[in-house]
């Protein structure tokens, strides 16, 4: 429909629409990560519990599955909002490209359905299924979480590297090659990067709770196992994440030069480009930061002679806001590298057979790793989304041409901020209430058993 074609000026709704999308997606993505990571971690605890007849592991699995159910419910509704927003905020994108862009979402729908069904079966199965059948019913949840993430991230990858479609004379999609849409040039690394991020965010968030528990003096097996399972998952994944990130950065250097220039603050095209740590872009000049000469060229092409495109060769109206992208990129890389160090530290403690509960500085680091993982996650999304601007579909559709012409986005943005802030607070309060109730139960149970020992 040609009626969805471009307008010349920047519509007034653009900033509010982008803010609303960023806010709701930034909220949902944490829950989406939990949807990837929690089922696997729950299954590990469940499997350990069954295999070694370990009541503690089973108790952890049971409790974590309750967290999974709660965050899945919140994720289901915040994910629905994103579906609404595809049309509420971006009719210019959906009206023209829905026929191509929608296909991965249709696959996502299938996985989401499967996830919703088997999460219910798994949760209710604690009581109503045999332990074995119940354990097996968790596998579709884990697989559907991965499948759903694959589909949605493939759609995002398509926005970065659009492929598999032909535009007709009226500007809408006239022909589609579905597999090329799904498996575009960015799908591979984006999907794997997101999978691993899901495991890291979930693992570290969960582990950080038990790290705090140990710092507060709880050192029983429950707390240790509750720390070890998720922490191990996250920290084993961390080196692979750095490697995937490296592959992704080189792909971006090749396929999205403007995003790469923003990430590394490259102002002038040429070889021997430096990596800048920190620093901002003011009037086209890099201000502040520490420069490592030649490193950006080296990372992009394994040689300082690699020519990197700078902003001098990118038209001004095709440039993303570089400072935000660059600082977010530094944040993500910095935190990811720090996680490597945390993993080495943990390995050292394990190899020397030290008691982790007494390693207070390590526990402090682990305790903040959960929040740090979320910060890295959000930073990564800023890099990929803000770095693609001013395009919503890279080099095909400008974000300004996709946005709704409906008035009232400003109001809905404020309402969304209020609603989601409350939702975030209530979610945290609810999780805290659950964990306190469990702590009380454990205290009562421990009291009862020590009482039994004393009298028996």
């Amino acid at each position: 429909m040609s009626i969805f074609l471009a307008v010349a000026t920047t519509p007034p709704e653009l900033l509010a629409a982008r803010s609303q999308m960023a806010f709701t997606l930034g909220f949902h993505i944490v829950l989406a990560c939990l949807g990837v990571g929690l089922p696997t971690i729950v299954l590990i605890a469940n499997g350990l519990g069954l295999w070694r007849n370990d009541e503690t592991a089973l108790l952890l699995a049971r409790r974590w599955s309750r967290i999974m159910a709660l965050t899945f419910a919140v994720g289901a509704v915040t994910g629905t909002v994103l579906s609404f927003e595809m049309g509420l905020l971006w009719p210019g994108l959906m009206g023209r490209f829905g026929g191509a862009f929608g296909i991965p979402f249709a696959i996502e729908g299938l996985f989401f359905f499967l996830e919703a069904i088997f999460i219910a079966i798994y949760i209710y199965g604690w009581q109503h299924l045999s332990p074995r059948a119940h354990f097996l019913s968790g596998f579709p949840v884990a697989l559907a979480g991965l499948g759903g993430t694959f589909s949605v991230v493939a759609a995002n990858a398509w926005m970065n590297q659009p492929a598999g479609f032909v535009l007709g004379p009226d500007g809408t999609v006239a022909d589609v090659a579905p597999l090329e849409v799904i498996f575009n040039r960015a799908t591979g690394y984006e999907v794997v990067h997101m999978f691993l991020a899901g495991y890291m965010v979930t693992g570290l968030l969960l582990a950080s709770v038990y790290a705090v528990g140990m710092l507060r003096g709880r050192t029983d097996r429950y707390v240790r196992l509750g720390f070890t399972i998720p922490f191990t998952v996250a920290i084993v994944v961390a080196p692979f994440q750095v490697a995937v990130g490296d592959v992704a950065a080189r792909a971006i250097f090749t396929d999205q030069p403007a995003k790469f220039a923003a990430m590394e603050l490259i102002t002038t095209t040429g070889p021997d480009q430096p990596v800048t740590i920190g620093g901002i872009l003011v009037d086209g000049q890099v201000v502040g930061g520490i420069q490592i000469p030649g490193l950006a060229s080296y990372l992009a092409g394994f040689s300082p002679d690699t020519v990197v495109t700078g902003f001098d060769q990118i038209p001004i109206d095709n440039q993303p806001p570089a400072t935000i992208v660059h600082l977010a990129w530094d944040m993500m890389v910095g935190i990811g590298t720090a996680f490597l160090g945390l993993g080495l530290w943990a390995a050292y403690i394990a190899v020397r057979r030290r008691d982790v509960a007494t390693r207070r500085w390590f526990l402090r680091a682990a305790a903040i790793s959960g929040v740090a993982a979320v910060v890295a996650l959000e930073s990564g999304w800023i890099v990929t989304e803000v770095g693609r601007q001013p395009w919503v579909v890279y080099l095909v559709l400008r974000t300004a041409d996709a946005v709704t012409h409906s008035p009232g986005v400003q109001v809905s943005f404020y309402a969304v901020v209020a609603l989601y802030t409350s939702l975030g607070i209530v979610t945290l309060v609810a999780l805290r209430a659950m964990s306190r109730r469990w702590a009380r139960e454990d205290m009562a149970a421990n009291g009862a058993s020590s009482h039994a020992e004393a009298t028996g």
Binding site: G87, P91, F113, Y124
Partner: protein, 358 residues
């Protein structure tokens, strides 16, 4: 039959399933709101929470399914609808967030106030959401969504007699479906008292729904003459079928045949939705845009049909398994919430007693 028609039929099946199953879950919230004070309303509220807790997310997924088909198979229709009906659909989206999260949080809330608050939010948003979704449907059906990015009026497109009618009708239909469904749920848990409780309410809801639907024809004749004309001309067998199903459901309810009433009530709602679909065929936006003109390229439609087939093979048995387990297991242990945690929907007593009350 063309691929466009096939995809449109799948979309309409999705809309129907959302209306029936998602609708019944919304209606359960209506009865939660109507259940009265904390003490008096405890038994029906517990039944309601038990009935929808394991299945609401799966039922809710039909909405996502419908949105995704709409934007993939009929992109300009999706863009036009969402942008013109920005206000009611934003409000429906908020309602969905509030309802789902409040329902999930309620059993977790530590204190009675928290539980009450969550319960109130859950119940109120269970009414608000179907109203705005219905109002949006009314705007589409009465041809008030033009093609384009927010081409229609943000207010007058849906603040019409038709939209108000369909919005209110959606709320009472949800309440009707939920009432009937809860009768058989009450039967399964063996509570004659709750069965009586919901039977009476379901019958009242049935009469209100029927009366409103009848009055609605007059509203449509004035406010949406094209839709009304097509409903009478082409949709009449389904309208008649809906009336027959509705009456039969009422009789079954009276006779205490809960399971039969459940199927008939779902049939009555299904007939109305397909009557609407037939009345506006071959248009997706009546008078504005046909299904064929809105359709995505053939390769997309083929891909969608393949995905549906796979989904049917995977989701169908899985959903059947869920419903089977749900029907078999309910109240074997205890229901609300997720597992053995003490859960109440509004119990004033100390937690230990609350746990025992089920």
């Amino acid at each position: 039959m063309t691929a466009v028609d096939l995809v449109a039929i799948v979309l309409w099946i999705g809309v129907t399933l959302y209306a029936v199953f998602g609708g019944a879950d919304f209606g359960a919230g209506f009865w939660d709101l109507a259940a009265g004070g904390t003490e008096r309303g405890r038994a029906p509220r517990t039944l309601i929470a038990d009935a929808i807790a394991p299945v609401w997310e799966a039922n809710h997924t039909w909405l996502i399914f419908d949105l995704v088909i709409l934007w993939t198979a009929f992109p300009p229709a999706f863009a036009s609808i969402m942008s013109t009906l920005f206000i009611p659909l934003t409000l429906a989206g908020f309602g969905i967030v509030l309802r789902g999260s409040a329902f999930a949080f309620r059993p977790v809330a530590a204190r009675l106030e928290g539980r009450r608050m969550a319960g109130a939010v859950f119940a109120a948003s269970s009414i608000v959401t179907p109203f705005f979704l219905g109002a949006a449907a009314g705007a589409i059906a009465s041809g008030r969504v033009p093609v384009g990015n927010a081409a229609g009026d943000p207010w007058s497109s849906w603040l019409t007699p038709t939209s108000l009618l369909v919005g209110i009708l959606a709320v009472v239909v949800c309440a009707y479906l939920a009432g009937v469904f809860l009768v058989s749920d009450a039967r399964r848990v063996g509570s004659a008292e709750l069965e009586r409780y919901f039977r009476g309410r379901a019958m009242v809801a049935a009469l209100v729904t029927g009366g409103l639907a009848m009055a609605g024809i007059a509203v449509l004749a004035v406010d949406a003459p094209v839709l009304a004309g097509e409903l009478v001309r082409r949709g009449w067998p389904l309208i008649v079928a809906s009336a027959i199903f509705g009456l039969a459901a009422l009789i079954q309810l009276r006779r205490g045949r809960a399971a039969g009433a459940r199927i008939l009530a779902a049939g009555a709602v299904t007939a109305v939705i397909w009557g609407w679909g037939i009345a506006q065929y071959p248009y997706i936006l009546p008078g504005e845009l046909t299904l064929t003109d809105a359709a995505a390229p053939p390769a997309t439609l083929t891909a969608l049909l393949i995905i549906f087939t796979v989904a049917l093979l995977i989701i169908g048995p899985s959903l059947a398994l869920l419903y089977l387990l749900d029907q078999r297991s309910r109240f074997v242990g205890h229901g609300v919430g997720i597992d053995a945690d003490p859960v109440d929907t509004g119990d004033a007593g100390p937690r230990g007693q609350g746990d025992g009350s089920r």
